[in-house]
């Protein structure tokens, strides 16, 4: 049997011949379906965009004037000979897995996902399919995430400790998703929460779409350790240790990422403290999600692809690594207000 697969992997990105569209394309194409607003999935220059209603505001904020259409989770849409629908991926607010069905065969491109409820994103929902495209950013058994309340307590304890020592706590986090999740974990009774411009802008977008966050203050030029003593500052990682951060006086810096699970990375990147928290699934989360899909064919994209695919193959799946040119996501946390981890 040599029919065309529902989804193929081309230099432009994941392509659906039956519907003539791309999912999270790399290069400029006419019709793009976007799993979520992070820059390595949602790029500039597509003829048209289709994304969830919750993902669109941030995409518009980042990409400017784009031709885009929103879709609700679970809503079915016919594109050419394909039926598509978007399902919660739990990665960041608005993030989706994209289900594509052609002639009864179902493929799911999951984008980035995590399986626990983070309090700000619509929680992950497994989608039954025949073919499942998964990431493997943290696809090694050394990665295990603590429950969110445990990490929340660690961060608040650290903040409390900083206040006791007359210091400002500065926590580095990516501006879309991770930052808002962390803000929602903070105990606002401890002190003021200050946000770097890049983050406060995204907060504003998310608040208008109904996501509830504690009060935050834009850390503009009038804000400093003098005006806001005992503050927690949320900033993109690149702002840590920069001239901008100096105005917060004596300070400790922290960094929140799944990579902080490794002591070596923690020591290289973390400043004073590293908190292990990620918007990607850990080892157990990946395996659970894959099992829930009931898919037999697994395509592994980002991260420890070779190792993860081998493990899946030994455990009854037919897994393959998607060719290298698609490996766009940096394994290392990016310095700009980017994604990952």
């Amino acid at each position: 049997m040599s029919k065309t697969p529902v989804l193929t992997f081309s230099p432009e990105g994941i392509y659906c011949p039956a519907g003539d569209f791309y999912i999270d394309p790399w290069r400029r194409v006419d019709r793009a379906l976007i799993t979520h607003g992070h820059a390595d999935h949602s790029r500039w220059g597509m003829g048209s965009y289709l994304a969830t209603h919750d993902a669109l505001p941030v995409m518009r904020h980042r990409l400017g004037d784009i031709v885009a259409e929103g879709i609700a989770y679970g809503e079915q849409r016919t594109i050419g000979d394909a039926t598509v629908s978007f399902h919660p991926a739990g990665h960041v607010p608005g993030s989706a897995q994209i289900r594509v069905e052609v002639d009864g065969e179902v493929w799911v491109a999951s984008g980035d996902y995590k399986v626990i409820d983070d309090g700000v994103s619509t929680p992950f929902e497994p989608v039954r399919c025949h073919h499942f495209i998964t990431e493997s950013t943290f696809g090694l058994p050394v990665f295990h995430w603590e429950p969110q309340e445990v990490v929340a307590q660690q961060i608040n304890d650290w903040w409390r400790n900083c206040i006791a020592n007359g210091k400002t706590a500065i926590l580095g986090a990516y501006s879309l998703g991770k930052a808002q999740r962390l803000i929602s974990m903070l105990d606002p009774s401890l002190g003021p929460i200050l946000c770097h411009t890049a983050i406060e802008n995204t907060n504003a977008v998310m608040r208008t779409q109904g996501i509830i966050l504690p009060d935050t203050v834009l850390a503009n030029k009038d804000v400093s350790a003098k005006t806001h003593a005992g503050a927690m500052v949320i900033a993109p990682p690149s702002a840590l240790g920069s001239a901008w951060s100096k105005k917060f006086g004596p300070q400790e810096s922290g960094f929140a990422s799944g990579w902080m699970a490794m002591r070596g990375v923690r020591r290289r990147r973390a400043g004073d403290r590293g908190f292990i928290i990620s918007d990607h699934a850990d080892w157990a989360g990946l395996l659970w999600a894959i099992k829930q899909t009931e898919a037999e064919n697994i395509y592994v994209t980002h991260g420890y692809t070779d190792i993860f695919a081998r493990y899946l193959n030994e455990n009854g799946y037919h897994a393959q690594v998607v060719p290298t040119q698609f490996e766009g996501e940096s394994l290392d946390p990016k310095d700009d207000s980017g994604e990952a981890a």
């Binding site: 058994p141 004073d272 290298t324 940096s330 394994l331």
Partner: protein, 532 residues
Amino acid sequence: MKAFAALFTAIDQSTKTTIKVNALSDYFQEADDIDKLWTIALFSGRRPKRAVTTTKLREWGAEVAGVPLWLFEECYPIVGDLAETIALVLPPNQTTDNRSLSQWITDLREVYKADDEAKKAFVLDAWARLGGTERFIFNKLITGGMRVGVSQKLMTRALARATMRDESELAHRLMGNWHPDDTTWHALIEAEDASADASRPYPFYLAYAIEGGPDALETPEDWRAEWKWDGIRGQLILRGGEHFVWSRGEELMTDRFPELARAVDYLPDGTVLDGELLVWHAGEEYPASFNTLQPRIGRKTVPKKLLTDAPVVLHAYDLIEWQGADIRHLPFAERRAMLEQACKDLAPEAPVKLSPQLPFKTPADLHAYRDRARGAHAEGLMLKRADSPYLAGRKKGDWWKWKLAPLTIDAVMIYAQAGSGRRANLFTDYTFAVRDGDALVPFTKAYSGLTDKEFRQITTWVRKNTLQRFGPVRQVTPHHVFEIAFEGIQASPRHKSGVALRFPRMLRWRHDKPLSEANTLDDLNEMLRIFG
């Protein structure tokens, strides 16, 4: 172990010296003597006898974690540390246990002679009891190498504060052969008689690099110059009719350099020399290159042929103990005069030679020496103030090293490999090639010299420009040119290019140079001809 785990965490999660010293000092004031003793031991690279092989640890770790052994083995190089890999793959656990650090070590020692079943039961029980950092530390007690961001200097400072003792005296006490199994806190730190161990070396005095060269020396007449030899720094101790050889890394190397045993025939008992271990063939004007010394470093015992091929001498440049007395407080010029006196009757076949001083009047004379350094197989000059005492550790002001500018070559990156540990998710290990017509000939690897930011940029680039994978190694599009710096070049039949470099590293990323401007194999061979 809770207190030790808390100390470890405090040190490990901070980059600030004051916080580390405070944490250590607090610990040294509160912990039991035996725990303090073990803490100093662990942080200075000493460890309990290994009770369990790492092979068994891996097997049991994978078994308890419920992952196949191959998968565990894949994780290990990515994490970069066996103890940590095991701690991470095991089912998570936040429990703790009341046994002290030294109690755990005692318990470990007790299973040393037990059979594998009993060992396994002990280890699995410990893993089940201990969570988080404590589990990691337990694994470290078995695998060894508790490397944490504490230098000997910091630890000594904290000890000095906690015990109200003199820092340099403590530094000396911590040197040498001691092990917690055969000493006590009192004997090591507090006892009046610090000379208990005949092999105990002095802390080495280390020089800083001089910025801007010797022209900055205001009064040249107050300074002394010598070649900076390219060998291994060593301390030769002659006490109680025995001899001991220590490396700068505080490793006892006596058995590796049997030639030095004859030193007792030429020099009196109660003598300690500081100098450079070098391969020097009889009758030659200069020592052989560092490469010839290399085979001697790894060998614990030396075959006869190697002894003949690569005979080692100690080139002495300082005298720090004479007639059993510590003379480190004397001015360098005085120590030097005593050293010359001690060495004046040395026979040519003696395993100790006097490192000559280089007479000079002006900085210009020093520049002239430095221009000749490579020919003398030296890696630069040492400048020492005539009135300087012999200090402990790296101190600024009295001793300077003035190294040669490295040799450099512009090369093309052709392979990249991810690092481990600190660099686990970055491509940091590269293979470089020179051009040979249309072909590219690999000639060296390099790992260091770039900033974290540059490593991240290259990592992103490598992911998008991988041509082929060979296991962990990626062949990448030849595109980026780097300036490679190195200290020396030698012919090497083992390498495809025919050369081996000494201490290669990346000096800078040459964004400005296209592939076509990288150096060629002919250029490399020309360097070999001139400097090899």
